[in-house]
Amino acid sequence: MNISDFPMLSQDLIYFDNGATTLKPKCVIDKINDYYTNYSVSAHRGDYDLAYRVNTEYEQVREKVQKFINAKDLESIVFTSGSTESLNMIANGFFKNYLESGDEVLITTSEHASNVLPWFHLENTIGIKVKYIPLDDHHYVTLDNVKKVITSKTKVIALAGVTNVIGDLRPIKEITSLAHANNIFVVMDGAQYVPHFKTDVEDLDVDFLAFSAHKMCGPTGLGILYGKKELLEEMEPVRFGGGMNESFDTPSELYFKELPHRLEGGTPHVAGVLGFGCAIDYLSSIGMDKISEYERHLRSYAMEKLLKIPYLDILNIESDAGIIAFNVDDIFSQDVAYYLNKYNICVRAGSHCAKNLKSETGVKNSVRISFYFYNTESEIDDLVELLSNKEKMRIEMI
């Protein structure tokens, strides 16, 4: 990995908003450019060489994804538009038919909106009940707290592998084992997990997993839905149309394709898929364990310095991911972000789509810095220096 692999970093920029999206290495950009320049035809359809090439490469990326998350079956990998669509397909395409009024789905207050609203929608439409697993003092999920809220009506536990504000790593494997012993399904929102940790769905044994390509050096508008094959077989498509049907005549004579194509109606995001293949190769060449380790190092390096700034209130002193959420006493988070922007440092201010988290932390908005493997100690030094001068911050925040 070289910083020069990332064209965005050739400008004067410190990018600390990787929880939102990540920068793209040149190999990903080149692949997308190559596709649009030299063989931009549709996958699956057409009996000519270029279409065959696209189809082959498209399906090769599916195999790369399968291998990347260690899925048993190739049919378990469905291309979607992102984690949000994947989670909505899980809720509306599978659980809407499976769950009954009064059944309970367990989430937490620190989930991202995309792992809250699909369940709220099921509560509003079919009468399930969304309940919360209490978090401990450090906003972590413990197995004991999961046990406390499981009832005979609990049917689903839907959790982020890592949350997007606190950055706590959930004991997914242990939760899955407990859940399965009680006939409960586990849905994992992997948007903040898969880009930063080695993912093994066989080992975690989750029933469904959702993640986004753009948070792991891939293109926007593309994500993955993973589901155990026997469960995806039961999933109803949410997109009916071209590409997903085998044949049709009348409503009663309608035949769908096999998995996974049955769930991929419409012309797919071919450029995105091909680019994502290169992103997976790129991440694999570095090694996911190395990425996790380096991000942990960056976090502890930053924390050691940030903890010395007396007027910083850090929300997640304990965390497993490269995420630090904080506020500066008496300065609104957006003003802090605006001040840092003057020095070309990109951070996010706000509730970070985890609007229920305020009930837990007592803090509605915060500044969030989130690292990826291309960030450096020297970038952190620059950030710390700017945050260490409160007077300068007050002057330059407007």
């Binding site: 609104f332 988070s333 957006q334 003003d335 605006y338 922007n341 201010a349 706000g350 509730s351 789509c353 609007k355 509605k364 908005n365 007050r394 002057i395 925040m397 407007i398």
Partner: protein, 143 residues
């Protein structure tokens, strides 16, 4: 307006905003909420009308320095104005932010935002309270 004076006005209204509280007799006020897409600035405005005039405005909520100060200055400038005078003032402020022709003599301290157009990501902060007050005026006039 020099940079120092501009800063002073904004910081003064940010640190000591006018009427930042929920009014005691809030039932007499029309309440509107105004927030921006990035889901961070979030203000409630309480406006009391009497006979086609704005007689009082309060505000409450969380917002950045620009939104908060802009709201405070807006309140100072609008109390006592008739609906049509208020609309004229709002139009001139919006024009200034959008780099269109405007009458600076109507804006008083709100002229402190006359270069906010240079910071496009902050324009919506300065305009936020105005989005709210327009909502309130439209609602009042519909009644």
């Amino acid at each position: 307006m020099d940079e120092e004076f501009r800063r002073e006005i904004i910081m003064d209204h940010y640190t000591r905003p006018i009427n930042r509280k929920v009014p005691d007799d809030k039932d007499l006020y029309l309440k509107v909420n105004t927030n921006n897409e990035s889901c961070i600035d979030n203000l409630d405005l309480y406006i009391r009308f009497n006979d086609g005039k704005i007689v009082d405005i309060y505000f409450d909520g969380e917002a950045c320095a620009i939104s908060t100060s802009s709201c405070s200055i807006m309140i100072k400038n609008l109390i006592g104005k008739s609906i049509s005078e208020a609309r004229e003032y709002i139009k001139n402020f919006t024009n200034m932010v959008d780099e269109k022709d405007y009458d600076e003599s109507l804006l008083n301290e709100a002229n402190a935002y006359n270069n906010i157009y240079k910071q496009s990501n902050r324009k919506h902060c300065a305009l936020l309270p105005y989005v709210g007050i327009l909502k309130a005026l439209n609602e009042y006039e519909k009644k």
